[in-house]
Symmetry: C2
Subunit: 430 residues, 2 copies
């Protein structure tokens, strides 16, 4: 009955996949971890790369290096093409693999509510390449504005629109407002920081709606204090090149439009033949497996899981990590004592929420304790430093933050990638 | 007679252009500094970005931030299209500028000795984008090799060829050898560090020929100690995709071929109507001006300058910086006391040479004192930290070096840029 060398295949090295690997250990199992990147990305700090505060390697760690001390691990850099549950096979770009247990943790991609054509004009922020592209476009906009004589184009170049008032949108809008006010404005002759606008658009009545009304109001106030124009109850009708059209007909012209309004599950879920929710997530069993496939676990942003009160488990890193630990325990028990694993339903433990807005500005909710401002900001810094993977990165990020706090400067304000494909960006407008 | 608000235009924010701006100050002059990038790049450490030791922002500093405290400075990000000496005009992509004094400091580009077609197959290392591309290709080669079954392709993936035994070539070959041996090998299951080859090809009888025979021999020994195959008196006949053909007919198959064999002056020199040397550099007067144009100075890699003994002033950062200080003094005197500047010929003061090979391995020559090994390496680290621009970068680079020395790890081992244009790189071979 005992499985000899059970093959465990893990797809994705985000918070879910990596936590699974770090928590799984069985003498008679082999793990293969597959990701299309060579690094684990600490997504909660991605917006700081996009706003030139941190450099890309600060928030990424090579997957091989993280798992180097673990034997019986194979790491492959490859793209997942198909998952064939009935054959217990996954198809990668250049190979196939069989599995006894499969862990699906490929996360989410930016979702445009049925308007994929908006992606070109309003990129999302999910990968390091996204962040580096946004950094380049934002810094270039200032360079172009410096020498632009036409007042309309000048204004457009200095306008940034962030769509979506969730944590990502709030953090992006806040950091752009500070970039403009403290960092860039004094280095340019022909740019008045007052002209540079950051507009945050949210369809619902509040930014950070999930945090409750009190914190949402506090967040709005803190955003407005640093000069962000917060527009709630505002819906986007259309997005075209450098233009956001609102439902009322108003048009906002902006060089940079960033999409932070939604994510959908990795498209691979469509190939599973399982029931999905609206956001493409797999409706899993209470033990996180796909119905009919007790050996296939779905973690994090790919899984639609509900709490006991019927509310959905949110798509945040702690949820993915808790699911990963649950799956690691169950598979571990199954491999050692086949058929005897404890599959008591997964329970999400909500430890709290936090979002940063800017210098000494943040909101946080830990259990029933709500706070905002300086202490929420400090808590935010601490929690993110603790969870950032790799000692080296912790030190480097800590140093960057201290430096930026003391000097009002940012450490990664350089434009790269002009050579490759985007050379015309500069010539277009100047 | 006095010039009111003399217009001084500086092209290029490398060592020459930036040093000029930092040393020039006249109450009745306006300076405009133009560069196609938004950052000053500390090129001597570029090879450490290519080999994943440092991140790009570590060795780059925004030009505006460096000059922020100086009034009467305009910084423009633009490409130089033409220089019209007779009209005292420069043409940029989207504007023209007139000047009273012009400082040409656009540096050099990679030169292929009349074989521009080799560039595709053997990229050079001059910009951050070059470095990031090389880093991506080298790290990808290891990822591909990990899952490659065909022994010939496996061998090719693990072979790196560096062409040119000057400081750049030596530093690249040394750092790749260490990357392979210390950093990558233990993270891969199917790669034996002994298999991974680094081959350094030099046409002359010695690597680091300019350093003298003793140091050249020491450098060769130190390179061979860390596993670099040094092939001197070896000329390249042809380069094609993943293949270097030597003059004897031998072919070396290598996934990564890096060109470090030569540079030529920025092509803009061809538009000056001035006499050029073989490498495209302007044959300047002893006061660094273009014959017939006493108001146009040429600095650094664009200028062919000879020492009193007839030997050429080398294309290194200290030479560019000395020329910049000379030009800043002359123009300053001219602007304040027109026609009375002291134009005693420029003299290059050779303070020494150094090149690093690897961990505790380097060669250095300071005046007539030659040394190698640990102390040369320490001197190299110190000098480069001192000259690196920006306090933040000094601290970050110092920390990176201490960390790498203590742990044998590198801090920037991440692959970026797969999304943009090069997505097929991964699929090609796997």
């Amino acid at each position: 009955m005992e499985l000899k060398n059970a093959q465990v295949v893990v797809l994705g090295a985000g918070f879910g996949g990596l936590t699974f690997c770090q928590n799984f250990c069985a003498p008679n199992a082999r793990i293969t971890l597959i990701d299309r990147q060579n690094h684990h990305l600490f997504q909660p700090l991605l917006y700081q790369v996009a706003s030139a505060g941190l450099s890309a390697p600060n928030i990424a760690q090579p997957i091989r290096a993280i798992l180097a001390h673990k034997p019986d691990f194979t790491v492959l850099m490859d793209n997942v093409v198909d998952v064939r549950l009935d054959e217990r096979t996954i198809v990668l770009e250049k190979r196939k693999l069989n599995y006894d247990y499969l862990v699906l943790a490929l996360g989410s991609i930016t979702g445009y509510f049925g308007h994929p054509e908006w992606e070109r004009f309003a990129p999302g922020l999910k990968t390091l390449d996204d962040a580096l592209r946004i950094r380049r476009q934002i810094l270039l906009a200032f360079e172009k504005a410096e020498s632009e004589k036409d007042p309309h184009i000048h204004e457009q170049l200095l306008t940034m629109v962030v769509i979506g008032g969730g944590p990502t949108g709030v953090e992006l809008a806040g950091t752009f407002a500070e970039l403009r006010a403290h960092v860039l404005a004094k280095d340019f002759e022909h740019i008045n920081p007052k002209e540079a606008r950051v507009i945050l658009i949210e369809g619902g009545p509040h930014v950070l709606g999930t945090f409750g009304v009190n914190l949402a109001e506090s967040a709005r106030e803190q955003l407005e204090n640093i000069g962000v124009e917060v527009r709630t109850n505002t819906r986007v009708k259309n997005i075209s090149s450098r233009c956001v059209e609102l439902e009322g007909g108003e048009k906002i012209f902006a060089e940079n439009i960033i999409w932070g309004a939604g994510v959908i599950a990795s498209p691979i879920t469509k190939k599973l033949g399982a029931e999905l929710d609206k956001a493409g997530r797999v409706k899993v069993n209470p033990d996180l497996t796909i119905p009919g496939h007790p050996n296939v676990f779905v973690l994090g942003d790919m899984a639609a899981v509900t709490n006991e009160d019927g509310s959905p488990v949110p798509g945040v890193a702690p949820a993915a990590m808790q699911m990963a630990k649950y799956a690691a325990r169950v598979i571990h028990e199954e491999v050692i004592y086949p058929g005897r694993a404890d599959r008591t339903p997964f329970k999400y433990l909500d430890k709290g929420w936090m979002a940063t807005i800017g210098r000494s500005a943040a909101v946080a909710k830990i259990k029933n304790f709500e706070f905002s401002g300086f202490f929420a900001w400090l808590a935010w810094l601490l929690v993110h430093l603790i969870f950032l993977v790799g000692f080296r990165n912790k030190v480097a990020v800590f140093f960057s933050w201290v430096y930026s706090y003391a000097t009002y400067k940012r450490g990664a304000r350089i434009i790269t990638g002009l050579q490759e494909g985007s050379k015309t960006d500069l010539g277009d407008v100047i």
